[in-house]
Structures are given as structure tokens and as C-alpha cells.
């Protein structure tokens, strides 16, 4: 008996009870669709967050802020010279930061310098933080992967790098990247060439001596005025949606020396003035440390904490994050598996019903020379067909549903995060695996009914009228 004959017989049997076949396939489709959608959602979320974290250097980055430490030997302390009782400010100056940067486990250490500003571009504006970027960062994410424009040529080049997310917040899209879901109307689409090299204006606030005599703080009048600095765009980076490292999507990046060209009131200096610490040893508020490998993270964090610095890092929570993803995947998989189990029971039920209905027919087939194996094969193929149709429909349904859900979610969340997300990672591999899985599970579900069918005594079956 050829495979094609078995397929024809199986298909014929299924066609005989079209409605039941459709309903059983639908059951499988719901099960497989749920499972595929759950997995793609879990994968999508994991992928989005992981990518954003990698892009933002979160797994290898630490941010340290000053705390009490021995001020006389800050750079080389490594926990041995800590004077925990000493409450003097940690002198986060160039020498300390340079000392940290020389540790074997550290790739780069630099001070975090930023200035609050309003960015004006093409008649639109957005509040942003102008952040200094050392030239060494050109070799690390997110700057290493600039595909639009370039990194800075020198530390004093008067240019900036902006993020795609920040442009989207200004409702400016790059031509050919029009993922404007959730951006609403009034979207400005510009060709990439016209954005790179385009001049933007950085608006900062500075003390205005002329207003010192007239400003009345009680009426919220401060002796401040706007300062306008024009800078050209060197490049555009894509931080991803969940950027939360030292370089955020809401930042505008400027070379470390060029930031000095932009005048701005340093809020920290106000506190210094109030505390009478104008000559403070703390030149910088915080430092960013990038370790060479993720496994160095905990060690370096420990050393920095031993120095008396307050350290923040998402990377050392990587295990927790991975466990969270695993838990998320498990929950989603469990829900999908329950749906699948129900559909498998549907297949078993359908095939057992078919045995009762076709008992005599099976007896006839055996009396005509049909072997047990051939009878089993017919049932296997029937189940495989149900599984295949259910799998294809389930995957197609899940794909459509996930696209609809993703579009809907982006209309809501896109407004908040300023860009579109692929909530579902529905790859061809997943689709094919889901269909294959559906067929395999269906065939497995048919093992018991097929064995029952094959073991029918032809004599007994033919006696029954």
C-alpha cells in the first residue's frame, strides 16, 4: 500500500465527516495558535529588552556616585584604605576616575557630565539632556553601531549625535523608516541626508547678571536667560525602547570637550554655593565605569563600593532578569500547553468516535487483506492531516492576532516610549516548528485510537450489523 493511497484513504475518511474534521482542526488550531502566540510574545519581549540592554551597554556598565571615603588615597584604595567613619565627599575628579580606568577589569571610566537643554530642530522642540561622550566610547555600544552618520572625529568637534527615539518624540522620522504607529499626526519625514549635518539649536539656561537687580525670586523670577548654541548632527543612534543605561534615548550626545562650549547653569554648583563648597574636590557628580567582561561586573562593583562610592548597575541583576524571562516563558508555555492538551483530547475523541463509526469498515478492510500496520497508518495520516491543518490555521491565526495586538499596543505604548515595538517575535522557524509540533503531537495523540482500530477482530466487526 503506497503512501499516496493511505493519504487518499485518510483524506477520504476525513472528508466524510467534514464538520467534525473542521471542528477538531479548529481545536488544534486554537491550541497551537495559543502556544505559538505565547512563545512569540515571550520571545518578542525578551528580544526587545535584551537588545535594548545590550545596545545601552547595561550588562557591562556601572554608574558610581560619590560617598564617604578616604580623600587622600581615592584611586588606589580598592577597599583597603576605607575610612567608613570619614564623611568627607569622595573626590570624583579626573585623577580618581583615571585611577579607576586603569584597573585591569575596567575597559573605560569617564565622568558623567550632562546639561539640561531644550533641543530645537526643524521648528520642533523637545526637552533633553546634553550628555558628554568621551572619544573612547566610539568603540562601545551604542556608538559603535552608528549606521546613520558617524561618531565624533575629535573631543572638541562641535557636533552632536541624536537618538532615533528622540527624533520620534519630536515627530521627525527618517525617510524609509516610517514606523509612525502611535506618533499621531503632524509627522515630519526627512531624508537621512538632510538630517545628517543639519543644524539644531541647543537652548540652555544661564545666569544673567543684568537681571540680578530686577529678578524677584518670591515671584518665581530668577536671574536667568536663554543661551542658544548651534550644533550640527553627526549621527543618529538607536538605543531601543527600553534604554536606561548611562546613554538614554532622551539624550543628545556631544564630545566631552565640546560640551564646554555650551554655557549652562550647573545646578550642582548652586548646592555647592549654598553649602559654601565652591572649591569642592568633587569635580564630577558621578562616574560611568564599563567593565571588560560581564563576569567582572560584581568584582568592580564591590571595589567601587569599598571605595565608598554608591554604585548602581542593572547588569548584576542579569541572573534575576534571566530568571524572570524564564518564568515568563514558563507561564506562557504552560497556558499554551493547557490549550494544546485540550486539543489533543479533541483529536483522541474524534478518532475514537471514528473507530466506533468505522468498526465494520475496518473489519472489511482486514478481510480484504489490510494489515494492522496499514490500518494504523490510515489513522496516523488522518491525525497528521488534522494536526497539519490545525497547525497551519493556528500559526496563521496567531500571526494575524499578534500583528493586530502589536499594532494596538503600539498605538497605546508607542506614544509613551516614542517608538514602535515588535511585541511578538514570530519567526519562520517558530511557525514551521509550531506546525511540525502540531503534526507530531496529533500523530502521538492518534497512537491509542490507531492501536485500537488495528486490533479490531474482523470477524467480530463483520458480525455486528
Amino acid at each position: 500500500m503506497k503512501a499516496s493511497d493511505i493519504a487518499i484513504l485518510a483524506f477520504y475518511n476525513l472528508r466524510r465527516n467534514t464538520m467534525r474534521t473542521i471542528l477538531t482542526s479548529l481545536g488544534v488550531a486554537v491550541g497551537i495558535g495559543s502556544l505559538a502566540a505565547m512563545i512569540s510574545f515571550a520571545q518578542g519581549i525578551t528580544e526587545n529588552i535584551s537588545l535594548s540592554m545590550e545596545n545601552n551597554d547595561i550588562f557591562t556598565g556601572l554608574t558610581a556616585t560619590s560617598r564617604a571615603i578616604d580623600p587622600d588615597d581615592p584611586g588606589s584604595s580598592r577597599g583597603t584604605n576605607i575610612l567608613s567613619q570619614n564623611k568627607e565627599e569622595v573626590p570624583l575628579n579626573d585623577s580618581v576616575i583615571s585611577g579607576i580606568g586603569e584597573w585591569n577589569e575596567v575597559a573605560i571610566a569617564f565622568p558623567i557630565v550632562s546639561k539640561p537643554a531644550t533641543i530645537q530642530l526643524a521648528g520642533r522642540s523637545v526637552k533633553a539632556s546634553l550628555k558628554a561622550v568621551p572619544m573612547e566610547m566610539g568603540g562601545y555600544p551604542p556608538f559603535i553601531n552608528i549606521t546613520r552618520g558617524r561618531f565624533f572625529k575629535s573631543a572638541d568637534e562641535p557636533r552632536v549625535i541624536v537618538s532615533r527615539q528622540m527624533l520620534q518624540q519630536m515627530k521627525i522620522l527618517i525617510e524609509g523608516e516610517s514606523d509612525n504607529v502611535g506618533l499621531g499626526g503632524d509627522v515630519l519625514v526627512l531624508p537621512l541626508d538632510s538630517v545628517i549635518g543639519k543644524e539644531l539649536t541647543v537652548v540652555t539656561r544661564v545666569f544673567d547678571v543684568s537681571k540680578f537687580s530686577t529678578a524677584n525670586p518670591r515671584k518665581n523670577e530668577l536671574p536667568l536667560s536663554n543661551e542658544y548654541t548651534s550644533l550640527r548632527i553627526a549621527g543618529i543612534i538607536d538605543n531601543g525602547a527600553f534604554s536606561s543605561g548611562v546613554f538614554n534615548s532622551s539624550d543628545v550626545f556631544i564630545p566631552s570637550k565640546a560640551i564646554d562650549y555650551v554655557p549652562c547653569i550647573d545646578l550642582r554648583s548652586i548646592y555647592d554655593i549654598m553649602d559654601g563648597k565652591i572649591d569642592s574636590k568633587n569635580k564630577y557628580g558621578s562616574v560611568h565605569v564599563r567593565v571588560k567582561e560581564h563576569r567582572n561586573l560584581k568584582t568592580v562593583k564591590f571595589w567601587l563600593e569599598e571605595m565608598g562610592l554608591q554604585v548602581f548597575s542593572v547588569g548584576d541583576k542579569l541572573d534575576d532578569i534571566e530568571n524572570l524571562f524564564l518564568m515568563l516563558d514558563s507561564i506562557f508555555a504552560a497556558v499554551g500547553v493547557i490549550a494544546l492538551v485540550v486539543s489533543v483530547l479533541g483529536i483522541v475523541n474524534t478518532l475514537i468516535m471514528a473507530i466506533y463509526e468505522r468498526r465494520k469498515e475496518i473489519g472489511i478492510m482486514k478481510s480484504l487483506g489490510g494489515t494492522q500496520f496499514q490500518i494504523k497508518l490510515i489513522f496516523y495520516v488522518e491525525a497528521a492531516f488534522i494536526g497539519f491543518v490545525g497547525g497551519v490555521c493556528g500559526v496563521a491565526g496567531a500571526k494575524l492576532a499578534s500583528q493586530a495586538a502589536s499594532s494596538f499596543a503600539n498605538t497605546q505604548i508607542g506614544k509613551i516610549i516614542g517608538c514602535n515595538l515588535e511585541f511578538f517575535d514570530f519567526s519562520w522557524t517558530l511557525a514551521l516548528a509550531a506546525i511540525l509540533f502540531s503534526v507530531v503531537v496529533s500523530v502521538l495523540a492518534s497512537v491509542y485510537p490507531a492501536n485500537r482500530a488495528a486490533s479490531i477482530d474482523p470477524l467480530d466487526a463483520l458480525r455486528r450489523e
Binding site: 493511497d5 472489511i364 478492510m365 487483506g369 494489515t371
Partner: protein
Amino acid sequence: MALVKVSNLCKTYYKGDNKIYALRNINFDVEEGEFVSIVGKSGSGKSTLLNLLGGMDTTAEGSVSVGGVNILTMSEKQLSQYRKFTVGMIFQSFNLIPSRTAIDNVKLPLIFSNYPRRLRETRACELLYNMGLYNRALHYPSELSGGEAQRVAIARALANKPKIILADEPTGNLDTATSAEIIALLQMFNQKHHITIVMVTHDKETAGRVSHKTVLLSDGEIIKISTNPNP
């Protein structure tokens, strides 16, 4: 050498603690090309004997040799081969698959025997034509008369060109005229095509008229074997 040799065949079953003999010490031969009838009253063991000859039942003592091979000791696979190529069965209630057309029913054994697909249609049409049913090929069993349905069943039994046709009361559900047609058809295949036929029937008179050998059964035992050299 006889085509079929039944030796010391006993079939028993238990009803409570009582051992019941469905067949007791059955011995007879069927020569190639013979028309043999097994007659007897209801419950005499006719159908049981036919089922043993057809390899549908193998739980018996003694031996049923067909072509020198005892079918009672055959494996499941060997039995399938035997049912496929050596015997063709005809039943009182036709046993056609109701959801398949006449031609599809005839093609079914050809599918199991791996008969070339392109030739199946031709073979099935040829058989139906020989049965006078060419114009009924696409009809479902429910659209056929009893006689037509039994002729489709005969066509199906002949599909794989078996050596032996085993007919279990083939006229039991038919009127007299149609029964005569079916018997004549079987006789024709026996005489023209030298197909060995073993038929179970109630009708002693017809059996005696058309058969070379008539085996009379009663309570599972052979009472008499009569022969007719010129049926």
C-alpha cells in the same frame, strides 16, 4: 494434491464451565477448480468453518492447509497476504462500504495489494462490466438492489484474482430469481475461469445441483459428504 485440506479440525468455546464444540473433527479436501458447498442448519458450524478457511479466525485445533501451508499457524502478516491474494470472500450482507461507490469498493482490495494505480480503474471497470454493472459503477451501495450489491461484492472478491472464493450464504438476503442469478454467476466463474469455490448455504437442493462436493454439517460434525461429478 488437494488445494485445501482440512484435517481433524476442532473449534471449541466455553459457555460457563461447559466446553462447546462448534466444530468437531472435521476432515475434507477441496480440489483445485472444485465447487464445494457446505450445508447445514443454523448453528451447525458452517460459517465458523468458512471463517477458518478464510483466515478470519485461527483459534482452532487441527489444521487447514491451503496450498500445503497450514493457515492456522500463520502470522498476522501472512494471514493478511493470504486474505489478499489467495482467497476472496463474499458475505450474506454484502459488506460493501456504504460511503464508497461501487467502483471504489471494487478498487479497495487492489489498493491493499499494491496493484498499479493506473491499472486499478481498468481492472475494476472490467470486473464490473463482467458482472453487468458497468453503468452502476458510480452508484453507492444504497442505490443498488440486493442482487447488484452482491455482484459488486463478487467483483471485489475477484479483484486480486484469488485461487479460492469463499461465499458465506451469498443468496441469503436475496429473492429466488436473484439468488439463481448469483449462483449462476458463481458457477460460471468456477467453470470458465476454474476458480475454486467454497459456498456455505442452507439450500441443500441448489448445493447438490451446482456443487462437485457437498459437505453436510450438523452440530459441528460432518454428517455426509456427497459428490456430483457433473454439476
